[in-house]
Structure formats: C-alpha cells, structure tokens
Symmetry: C2
Subunit: 481 residues, 2 copies
C-alpha cells in the first residue's frame, strides 16, 4: 500500500472539500469526455457567448490589438488595417499605463479606466461616482470573493443568497467558511422577490445563532432571468438598512434585458434617489463585467466593483488584499474602458459598432422567446420567460419513475435527467440542484446563447428527447403500479 | 456620531485585517502621492520591467495582436504588418480556443498550451511531464494561493517560508488563517540554505503544537537573489520527505541567472533524478510565470503550476476550486505558450527574438553588477551579489541615532530609512522588515530593473543620500553621548 500523502481528501482544508460548483460539475466533465470521443457537444452550461459562435465587436478588438503591439502604430501601413479612432483610443489607453499592457497597474486598476467607469456610472444613474471607490478585478467573480472574504469571519456569519442562485455565491461562501442563508424566489410570480419571506429568513437564521451580515441579489437574475422593479430594489435596500446588512448587487447582466416594461435600474441609482440617511449609510457594493452584455468577452477577464458608503478603512483593507495579487490583467481593464466608453456619434467606427451590438442584442431577445416557447411546448415542462440575463431555467416535472431511476443510480433526479439529455443530444446543461430549488421541484439551466440558426434544431432535439423521456417513465411508472 | 457600519476594521474577518503586504505598503503609497504631486519617482518596489522602460519582445506581441483581432488575418494587407510565422502561431493558438480570446477556457487553461508547457518541461528536465497535471493561472501568485488554500486547515497548520521571503507567502498564509514557520537564509554565506537549522525550526514548531505541512523555497531567491545548488535541492527534498511536507517550488526567476557556476536546475529534475520511492512519493508543486525572465510581461497575468506526485483526488479538488473563477485570462495563457515555445532556428522571427532577448538578459547581468558594486561603495552598506532573480537586498547598518529617530516616529528603522530615501531621491524601495530579517539587522529591497542608462545616476543619487544620512546620524549619536 502506498504511504499516505500529506494532502489527501480527508486531510485538506475541509472548506475546499465541502465546496460545490455545479456549472463545471459532473455533467460538464462528462460532456468534455464525450467531446474528446468525437461527439458534437453544445455547451450551454456556462454563459460563454464566443464559444457558441458570437463574433467579437470589431472596434474594441482593433484597440486591443494595437495595445498589444503598439509598434504597429509606427508602421506607415497601419492606416490600411486600423481606423483612426481605434488608433487614437489605443494611444489614450497606453498613455494610462505605466509601460503598456506588460506592466502591472496599481492593484485597484488603471486610474484612467477607473475614471471612465465613474463617468459611465454617473451618466447611467444621474448621481456622482468616485473613481477611488472603483476597483478593477480579473472578472467580476474575483471582486465578489474579495468582498465576501472581508465580510465573513466564520461559520456563524451568514450571507443571504437568492435561491435559485448563481453557484459562485454558494461556492465562495463555503470556501470562505461562512453560512449561506437562502431566500426563495417565487417561480409562480416569474421568480419575483418576496420581502416578507426574506425578513422571515433573516429572523429564522438569527434564531439559529447566525449573524446575518450581507445580502446578495442578481439583477437581471441568474439563472432565473427576472428583472427587478424599482419598488423591489427599494424594499431590498430598506430591508438591508433595518437589518444591518451589506448589499451586494450583482448587476453583470445590466445590458441583457429582453422586455421593455422594466428597463434595468441600478441599486446605486435607487439608493441615491431615496435620499436621507439611508442613502448616505447603506453599505452597497455593485459588480459589473465585460463578460456579458453584447461584448461577451469572458476570456478577457475584466470586471469591476463600485463601493458606496463603505467605511474608508475597509476600502483600504480591500486595496491591501488586492495588492497581494499585484494587478488585474491590463487588457481586461482596457476592455472595461472600451465597454463603458464606446465610439460616439460622429466617430469613424460608430455606425459599425452600433450595427454589430444591436444585432447581438436583438438576436438574444429573439432567442429568449424561441427558447421559452420551445420549452413550454414540451411535455411536463413549464418555463418563465427570460426577461434578462442569458439563461432559461425551465421547471421539469419528473415522473416518479424517473425519480426512482435516478435514486437507483445515486444521482439527483434533475442531474439524471440532464445526463440523459447530454447522452442523447449533446446538449450540456446544468441541473437545477446546482443552483438550489424548492424541495421536490426540479429544473435545468441552459443559456440562450446557441446561435439563432441552430436553435430551432436544438429545441427540436430537446423536445424529442424530453417527450420520449417523459413517456418512457410515465409508462414505466404506470406499468409498475 | 455616525452609526456603526456592518464592516468596520474591528468587525471584518480578522485574517484580512492582520495581513501585511509591504511591496505595496506605506512607502509605495507615499511614492504614489509624490508622483501625483509631480515628483519623478523610480518605482523599484516591485519587479515590473516594462514600467521601467523595458520593451516587449516583438514576436510574442505580434501573435497577441493577431489573437485579439483575428479578422486582421483576412486582410490582404496583413502581410505588410505581420511576419508569416506570427500569423501561423496566432492561427495555431486560436485553434486551441473554443471561440478566440473572448471565450472562457477550461478552468485549468487551454489544453493546447498545457501541452506546450509539458513539452518545455520535459525538454528542460529530461523527465516526462503530464499536461493534465499543469494548471494555468492568472499569474503565479494565484496558483500559490490555490495550493496554500488546500494545504492550510487552520492556525495550527504551519508552512515553512524562507526569511527573507517574498511577502506573497506571509500575506497569503495570514489571509488563509495558517501559521508561517520561518527558516532563515544565511546572509554571511550569500543567503545560503542551512538544512540543519531548517530541521531545528521544524522541531521547534512541532513543539509549539504546529503541524508543519509544507515548505516554500524561491530559486533564484526573492528578495535575496541566491541560486540554489543541486545539492541544496536534494537536501530540501529529503527533508520534505522525511518530515512529510509538501514542497512548493517558486521558480519564477528560472531564466534570470547572472552567474555561470550554478545554472538553474528545477526541483522536479532533481527529484526525478534521485529515483527510488522518494521520486514517486514526494508531493511537489512548481510555479512559473510570464512576468519575469526576459519577457517581463507582468500585466498579462500568465502563470502555471505543475503538480508532481499530488494525490489524484487533490488534483480534482484544485480543479474544482479553480472552476469557481471559471477561467484564467486567455491572452495570459497564450503568452505562456509563447514563452515556452519561442521561434526556433530557421523561423522568420528567430534572429530578432534571440537578439532582443539576449540584449535584455545581458543588460540585466550588467545591472546586477553595477548595483551590487554601487551599494558596496556606500557607507554602512554591504550587499551580496544578485546571482539571479531581479532584486538587490543590501544590508543597511543603521546608526543608533537613526534607530532612535525612527522609533520616535513610530516606524520600523528600515522603513524610516526608505521613506527618507524616497523623499530625497524619488527612489521607491521596500524596507527589509517587509520581507523578514534577523532581529537587529536592517535591509532594503530594490529591483535591478531601472534602465542601464539611468542606473549610474540613480546609484550616485542613492550614495549621496545614504552617505549623508549615515554621517548625519553618526554625528548626532556621537554628539548626544
């Protein structure tokens, strides 16, 4: 027998062991295997638009190319490959760095980009934004983890997270040794918030000895796609204030809105609009990214957080912790600048930029409909409309026979369903159990990102699989009775 | 009085509060202030070559530009700006991605780049390397933190770290709630290792109830610059095996070697060359990066770790934790590929690449000498030669008067000295107390990165400041007696 290692599953940090992350869990690993074996896989497990054929926007990538290779601008032929406004923007970003994209920036990010972001927020919300309170991060996830790391002191500290949730939150809270306090979104009212229930969850957690310290919301929702109203946000803010909670506003899908009644409104705007002591006191951290929206530049890893009413010494503590990793990647930072300051009317690249970005957003809106309608045409499936974000989260009513079959294989029923779906169709999704769901209900998450051309065929394959699956297990169940 | 916030210094995670990170600490913050006020600052606090004028190598940046803007390759004029081998390499990297640099990769990094790294390691060491055991990270620091996070279970778990050390280690161990167990490098023998002392430190820590679980070494050393011998490495490996420690090999400076007697040799090579059970059992994680060497591409945030003899289930745990952040940035990954697979003889860009990289390394070697000699010409300063890495770590013998003056201002004596240096000359360094040093000894760390042109003037300014400082406090001390 081999001698025991220092690091074995039962001898490492138990928080590492306890952490789950379903988005790249069992189904994803199986899909990767099948892909290696030559099967065509449609990866809808993660919001990764470029992997499903979305083309990058031309202007930002022209600027990025020039930032990587500034010597191109000394070439007399540069003008044949790059428009003048891309050259000008590249020069302006390079001037913000201390030595181009190969030099570390300040650990909070390039001051020039943070200023551009503050201007964007001010323009969006109509309230001032301070670049000193904006930190750039390697994707928004890193920022979320930095804030949670300061907030969570031990297992008695709780953070309220919507269920269903994006598992970044459950995974990070477990990894940091805290306690997730769930609050349920209401599927029957299109995944709406229920503030009365929320207060009850806080009270229940406190009764168990948990110090509830923070509340996360995701707007538009992931995986649920709902868009919050201003009224919802006001209620959340008031609750956080009276219950003494830090509000974490995950607003990475703010550009991905597919209905017109409730345009995106930021928590910062609502808070500042409320006026009075609450607007000067409530601790709020808001997150945004280049990975979503119409850019979909996931691989560039550019995110930011904005702090509102955070104690100045805590801002310093977060700066100190960010310093240990020295600097977020510079090109991701520049992509953030390009996101918040696109070409403006009259610029050489304006028309192309508008055309490209509108095309993506309009297609996403159509795909949201195609997908919701497709799911709702299936046996035993009901699905709320994807009002925003990039996901569809249908409820799958599994027959008792399927539940029993899953149990026999030691799998969660929805994981069993998603595995069968993968094997039959190559569609890689994530079971609802990875996001949390009410006991006895089952879901799956898929992105709405497969290309519009391919989507009808994909939904047809899905329906064929699902309806056969439902028929098989319904029959089975009946025959066994 | 304003109401208390949820997050105040005494109500956040105490590990966050206790963490120190001197490389971007007090002196750096003061330097940033002075820079804002218009003073010329030479930032030598962090190894950031491009910020001090080092130019990026042409070929890798040509490839990076094309990866950011693949549509350039469809332009008939592309050949006027890009050589054929850069175009071919860009195509090969894009083919490794799932949708260009805007798509997330697998959380371990692009399989194609991991394969290139495995080939590089195999070629370097003469022993096989498995791409499945190589994970790409946003800079090497992130990889170090991932491994420490699995290793450290609580404050009773200790990790041996050389003193002086790079504060990534002290900061990360504190942040993760573990205990740093120091082992001292011997300044008198050019910062050499003393394995007898190391064993004594392990025993002493165990007596205090600490479970020592890992050992970090940095080769070539940071901030100390020493290059370990094969014999040193064998001793370290044997010690780790008999004491049941995971060995963390920080080898990010492996290309930065400025003497010829002891070329770099990797811990993996020494371990595998030892044969027998130890070579199959000792748990080793090795780290490397694009930030150092002659590339100096800090801002790209590309790093990797290679695991040797790590339990397969622990490899899976590390994969799971990496998944929470989805993917390291793609361009940093590609830069890693370009580092380990440079143009080869006969390629169009070969000669230019060789010329550019040799020039940087040869200049660094000359600068290592200029700096060491400069420090050793100063009053009360002795300095070991920088055998490798990018730093000089002179010992500064402070007169009692200076120590008293520092105490009066509530500062560490070497921090006081570094602040005075900054105010007088604009040279931003890091006090030795940020890295650890034997009690009663004082040091400062500076990089050897200021440009060769500017270095004589900088060293002259340093000498002028230092000698005046020493004279002032020596006199003061004498006159007060």
């Amino acid at each position: 027998m081999a001698p025991r290692k220092v690091m074995e599953p039962d001898t490492i940090n138990e928080n590492v062991r306890k952490t789950n992350y379903a988005v790249r869990g069992e189904i994803y690993l199986r899909a990767s295997e099948l892909q290696k074996e030559g099967k065509k896989i449609i990866f809808t497990n993660v919001g990764n638009p470029h992997a499903l054929g979305q083309k990058p926007l031309t202007f930002p990538r022209q600027v990025m190319a020039l930032c990587q290779a500034p010597f191109l601008m000394d070439d007399p032929n540069a003008g044949m490959l790059f428009p003048p406004d891309a050259i000008a923007r590249a020069k302006s970003y390079l001037a913000m760095t201390s030595g181009g994209v190969g030099a570390y920036s300040d650990s909070r990010g390039l001051p020039g980009v943070r200023k551009e972001i503050a201007e964007f927020i001010q323009e969006r919300d109509g309230f001032p934004s301070d670049p000193e309170l904006i930190f750039l991060t390697d994707g928004a996830s890193k920022g979320v983890q930095q804030v949670l790391n300061a907030l969570i002191r031990g297992e008695k500290d709780g953070v309220l997270v919507p269920i269903p949730q994006y598992p970044l939150y459950s995974a990070s809270i477990t990894l940091l040794g805290g306690t997730l306090v769930p609050y349920y979104l209401n599927e029957e009212s299109n995944w709406g918030l229920d503030v009365v229930d929320l207060r009850a969850q806080v009270a229940a957690a406190r009764k168990k000895g948990i110090t509830v310290r923070g509340l996360v919301f995701i707007n538009p929702g992931n995986p649920t796609g709902q868009c919050l109203t201003e009224q919802n946000l006001r209620e959340l803010i008031e609750l956080c204030y009276t219950e003494r909670l830090v509000l974490l506003a995950d607003e990475v899908y703010q550009t991905n809105v597919y209905q017109d009644q409730r345009p995106f409104v930021s928590a910062k705007k609502v808070l500042k609009g409320m006026g009075g002591i609450i607007s000067r006191e409530l601790e709020l951290v808001s997150f945004h990214t280049v990975s979503k929206g119409f850019l979909g530049e996931c691989g560039q890893r550019g995110g930011y957080l904005e702090m509102t009413n955070i104690h100045p010494l805590i801002v310093e503590e977060l700066y100190k912790v960010a310093s240990i990793s020295l600097s977020p990647n510079i090109t991701g930072q520049i992509m953030l600048g390009l996101m918040v300051k696109p070409p403006k009317r009259g610029d050489y690249s304006y028309q192309k930029y508008i055309t490209e970005s509108k095309e993506i957003l309009e297609s996403l809106r159509r795909r949201a409909h195609i997908m919701t309608d497709g799911f709702n045409s299936c046996k035993n499936i009901v699905c709320n409309f994807t009002e925003g974000a990039m996901y569809s989260f249908p409820r799958v009513m599994l027959p008792p026979g399927a539940i029993a079959a899953a149990k026999k294989e030691g799998k969660a029923p929805d994981a069993y369903y998603c595995l069968k779906l993968l094997e039959a169709t190559g569609i890689s999704t994530v079971p609802g159990s990875g996001f949390g769901q009410k006991d006895g209900s089952f879901h799956m998450r898929t992105t709405i990102l497969p290309s519009e051309d391919e989507m009808p065929a994909m939904m047809a394959a899905f329906k064929k699989f699902n309806d056969a699956f439902m028929a098989e297990y319904s029959n089975q169940y009946v025959s066994k009775l």
